[in-house]
């Protein structure tokens, strides 16, 4: 029965082939436009996110105390345990931060941490030297800081150097103290904030000050980039602050959501025009076939049968338009990724090669399915009014009419 309805519907459409093709073309252009714009937006999003992923340590979250009104949620050993027990967290270490000044008044950000083993929580790689030994005043420099110390301070590996720690007494007078550190290692370049800091034993950093807190931050390692957002949300739920490279990805995603939405909005206009074309075609088709519809009713078709026959035609238009639209969208994406890519790169310069990886436009199966579904839904929706109008025809008048 269903296949018969479709074969009759197709025969009707085939009678007015040119009109059928033009209508299908209308919806095809709409679907292709949506797929082209969304795939372009998604491709740029994908490339941007991939660039962030390769350039930064995505699975590292830095937790900080957060002020809620007058209350500061402090970092305690219990908090660290709590975070360690979150699912997807592979490690969490408390840190203490400070700033030391060198003899030449270069200020050095210092992070006190329990371990700086090769690999480890921070996934450290040494360009030279070794990790500091526990319970010592040995330190390890980030890549850029290591360069800076060597160039401006003349501090090389295994050199001892003196830094000043400034504290203030009750009256606000500065009280400086000095400690001697030994630089035992320099890290490889990472592209994040660790390049700029000095890593020291946490116990030593805490001991160097009279009023230092045990912890003022936690470094958290998550097992995979996909779980980072969830862990960050869990940490935020503990009233603590969570920052990291994942935020960049979130902001890229937010930006691209807007861009894709705006682009798609324009494409949707052509889809709406396509839908109006279907409505127009079906109105004309019903008008031309008034007599046939009357005869169909006389031989025993119910209103529902008539609606079904007309909607079957719309469904065929929708499927044809959707499939062709998906195909055209894919062709467009392929063109952008081959000819378009080299053109864009020649205009932008080689430094964008990384941003526009292998493909600029990204057509995903989900996008194609969405295109097809939207096309079919729009087609059926546009046919609803003509179909109901046909079903409401008075059979006697319909048969008598000249159509």
């Amino acid at each position: 029965m269903i296949s018969d309805v479709f074969s009759i519907a197709f025969r009707h459409l085939w009678r007015k082939r040119l009109r059928f093709f033009l209508t299908v073309l209308g919806i095809t252009i709409g679907v292709a436009a949506v797929i082209a714009t969304v795939s372009l937006g998604e491709g740029i999003r994908y490339n941007a996110v991939e660039t962030i992923k390769t350039q930064s340590d995505l699975t590292l979250i830095t937790v900080q105390p957060k002020v809620h009104g007058d209350v500061v949620q402090l970092i305690t050993g219990a908090r660290i345990m709590e975070i360690r027990n979150l699912s997807s967290v592979t490690g969490a270490e408390g840190i203490t931060r400070d700033t030391y000044a060198t003899a030449r008044q270069t200020f050095i950000p210092v992070t006190g941490i329990d371990s700086v083993e090769e690999g480890g929580l921070l996934n450290l790689r040494y360009s030279r030297g070794r990790p500091f030994s526990p319970e010592t005043r040995e330190v390890v420099a980030g890549y850029r800081l290591g360069e800076k110390l060597q160039r401006y301070e003349g501090i090389r590996q295994n050199d001892r150097f003196v830094v000043t720690i400034r504290e203030y007494d009750a009256s606000g007078k500065p009280l400086d103290s000095e400690i001697e550190l030994t630089l035992v290692g320099v890290l490889q370049e990472r592209g994040d904030s660790i390049d700029e800091i000095l890593l020291a034993n946490r116990g030593a950093v805490v001991a160097a000050r009279t009023d230092a807190p045990l912890y003022d931050g936690i470094l958290v390692r998550v097992d995979s980039p996909e779980h980072v957002a969830g862990v960050a949300a869990a940490i935020t739920g503990m009233q603590l602050g969570a920052t990291g490279a994942f935020e960049q990805i979130e902001s890229v995603n937010r930006l691209m959501d807007m861009v894709v939405l705006l682009l798609a909005l324009f494409a949707v206009i052509s889809l709406v025009v396509g839908a109006l074309m279907i409505m127009n075609t079906m109105m004309t088709s019903v008008y031309e076939r008034v007599r046939e519809i009357g005869i169909t009713m006389a031989v025993g078709a119910s209103r529902r049968d008539v609606i079904r026959l007309i909607l079957a035609e719309c469904l065929i238009i929708g499927i044809a338009g959707g499939v062709l639209g998906c195909f055209c969208g894919m062709v467009f994406a392929a063109l952008v990724n081959t000819a378009g890519r080299s053109f864009i790169l020649s205009r932008l310069g080689e430094e964008f090669t990384l941003l526009f990886g292998t493909e600029i436009a990204r057509v995903t199966p989900g996008l194609l399915i969405a295109g097809l579904v939207v096309s079919v839904l729009l087609a059926v929706l546009s046919g609803l009014y003509p179909a109901v109008k046909a079903a409401r025809l008075n059979p006697v008048e319909a048969i008598r009419s000249g159509g």
Partner: protein
Amino acid sequence: MTSDTRSIIEVESVSKRYTETVSALRDISFSVAPGEFLTIVGRSGSGKSTLLNIIGGLDHPTSGNVRISGALTDYHNHHALVRLRREMVGFVFQQFNLLPAMTAADNVAYPLLFHGRPRQERQERALELLSLVGLADRTGHYPAELSGGEQQRVAIARALAANPPIVLADEPTGNLDSKTSREIYRLLRELNTDQGITFLVVTHERDLAGYSDRSIELLDGQVVA
């Protein structure tokens, strides 16, 4: 009026008014026995077609009742009217009214689509009926490739597709020459006697009424004979 259980069609005081002053039918009553061949004659505009459409459930009366096989037709119930058109009656029109995009066989099989019958069965039934009306060699032809008389034979076959007990024919020979007209009437009469189908045929040609068992005449929406 008492209902006669032996009648297949009972028309009781049926009137059809378009406005207060314009009436198509005025208080029409008659009944048709099963297997009867009844012609309704009258000039054009006498309301014959309207009466036929009311009996077949395509139109509705302003007042009065129609019973088909004893069942009162409920003109407010869409599904009841659909069932009536599907199962009880077959229509034959003056204009043939075949669907131009379909072959003769597909036209004949078309009503069975709405019965939900499988394609195989519909096709077999169509071929059987087309050979019954003498068009076994025209099954694959489109209406435009057939003569008027052949088209009307296809339309008659279509009216019989669902095996209805009643066929309603509205000026079935109005568009045909007199020789073809007589052939069509002979065919209708044959189907009537061989298959026991009740025929209600509207015509303005009195001489063709001679083929019928009985004839009633309408004048200005009223039965005069």
